[in-house]
Amino acid sequence: MQSSVISMVFTSQNLMRLMGGLLVTARIAFISIAIGSIAGIGFGLLMTSKSKWIKGICRLYLEIFRIIPILVWLYIVYFGITSALNIHLEGELVAMIVFSLWGTAEMGDIVRGALESLPRHQIESGRALGLGFWKLYRYVLIPQAVRRMLPGAINLATRMVKTTSLVVLIGVVEVVKVGQQIIEVSRFQVQTASLWIYGLLFILYFIICYPLSVLSKRLEAKWSN
Amino acid sequence: MSSEEKQPLLEIKDLYKEYDKKMVLNDIQLQINKGEVIVVLGPSGCGKSTLLRCLNGLEPIQGGEIKLRGKSLSGKDVDWQKIRQHIGMVFQNYDLFPNMTVIENILLGPIKVQKRDKNQVLMQAKELLDRVGLLDRIDAYPRQLSGGQKQRIAIVRALCMNPEIMLFDEVTASLDPEMVREVLEVILGLAKQGMTMIIVTHEMAFAQAVADRIVFLDAGNICEIAEPQEFFTDPKTERAKQFLNIFQY
């Protein structure tokens, strides 16, 4: 009986639809992580600037994203910006905007931490070799900084993947929404449909996030000295 | 009565110790009588700390036997918790508990482990603190003390357990030179009172003054056991001569 229940919920058609939803989720996560990482490197360099003003503004940007929950940010952009500018933005685009901005802030802080932990004398000896600003960064600082920031960056990616689940709350049709639709349709025949579907979603997210967090921990242990 | 007097307090027989298949102590034979002060000398990495740690059960041994008052300390059913109450140990890095005041540090063992009467222990603690000149720091936290003060407190903490033997592992090695003396004087005082001690140190003058016997350890083996006078003026082994030469300068 149990197995028949499962087969009624997880028909091949439903599974295909879930995969389609997962693709939307993956697209949002991937694009946001990509933009966040690249912009975050620039932002991190900016954060190590000598100017107090630039530093202060960067810090403010970071703290604003840290203190206000991401779901609130999604609301602000989804409801607020669209009504203020009188334009319509798709939930998916809103999600990518918010996650990219957030990712930039957090990634920037990781990059800043990595750069600041580099020993000063490295910079000086680089200068002494006559390396220019860009060359100094490219050949001396960045390769070392990458080791120090990769574990944190992967960790951030895991957090961003988990956070993509929130976009269902601003009307994006992704894996969670598709799951809810399947539950709607099948709940009369299968009372426990929500148990199976949410159970599957739980496992799906775990399958994606767990390897990432293991990787992050491994790298951290490997490079910690 | 006389039979107990002849029996050594601590007896080490054929002690063998390794870390990951690497020999660290080999064929150690040593007997320590009640009231005797042994100073262990030897180059860095020769196994001095490991020897003390084995005596205290902090490291398992792979061969041989350690006996306290004739009772073996090897084997699975040894209650180290009980034995450690009879063996006080002070480490190189002042390891007072930073979350407790001086007196809390001192009372922890006697009250929680030995379940002794608080007033009685408090009296003993105050007397010992007074003797090391730190009675006025009784309510201080470790971070408010100098390194030398911390080590004197650590000694008092160990003494308050009424141990039969004290182990000192380079207790002055992390101290600023001006504080070394105040700690060594405390240990000299203990020697005068007849405390049985095993001391690892690099202070040669102190070693000569305090020791009844010097044990010279090299690469995990005992090379030489001698009276201090003899060891410092006329060492028998080449290794000991080389070792002492380094300290001439």
Partner: protein
């Protein structure tokens, strides 16, 4: 753009009520998280067989799945098995399930930061393993982990924004309702942000202060 002050003033009681609810849920969530975290880290510290692997699995499951899915599973899924839980109870369980693993990791980090020589020093006084944990390791571990614990509290407070997804009239849902009913989008969102800032900013300052106060190096000040 002009701000509708009347609307803002009228909405204050709604937001106030929702904010208290958010705080209440967060309070219980954090408290239970601390208890779960402590239990888990003690089990891991004493390496208790079987329980230890259960704790390990729980930590990974909880840390590597989103709170939203945990809540949906609990509220819509498990209730189908005949378990009836109120929305608030679900929210607290969800927050605790998530927070417990984070707190446990914070404690574990603290325990690992206690130096080996402190432990040996305790052992050489004849302390038992339990006494060692009680008097030496846990007090020090706690002060080492206070900053991660603080960060986790802020994290959990922020995560409460998600409990609206299971039909709790929290700050998020109040805002959404007001936007839907009155189209006062800017005002509603402004109130939402202010409400969260009122909750989170003092908390964040308080924790920074506490962290300074309790830090290991500052015992006795």
């Amino acid at each position: 753009m002009s701000i509708n002050w009347d609307f803002i003033i009228n909405s204050i009681p709604l937001y106030e009520k929702a904010a208290w609810l958010t705080l209440k849920l967060a309070f219980w969530g954090i408290l239970i998280s601390l208890v779960i975290g402590l239990i888990c880290s003690v089990i891991q510290y004493f390496k208790i067989r079987i329980l230890r692997s259960i704790v390990g699995a729980y930590i990974e499951l909880s840390r590597n799945t989103p709170l939203l899915i945990q809540l949906y599973f609990l509220y819509f899924g498990l209730t189908k098995l005949g378990l009836t839980l109120s929305e608030n109870t679900c929210a607290i369980i969800g927050l605790s399930f998530l927070g417990g693993s984070y707190m446990s990791e914070a404690f574990r980090g603290g325990i690992e930061a206690v130096s080996k020589s402190q432990i040996e020093s305790g052992l050489s006084l004849g302390l038992s393993k339990i006494q060692l944990a009680r008097y030496v390791i846990l007090p020090q571990a706690f002060s080492f982990s206070i900053s991660s614990i603080g960060a986790n509290c802020i994290f959990l407070l922020k995560e409460t924004s998600i409990v609206g997804a299971i039909a709790i009239l929290d700050l998020m849902n109040v805002t959404k309702d007001l936007i839907g009913m009155y189209y006062q989008t800017f005002e509603s969102l402004l109130m939402l942000v202010i409400a969260y800032l009122i909750i989170l900013l003092p908390m964040s300052f308080l924790l920074t202060w506490l962290e300074r106060k309790v830090r290991y190096a500052e015992f006795g000040n």
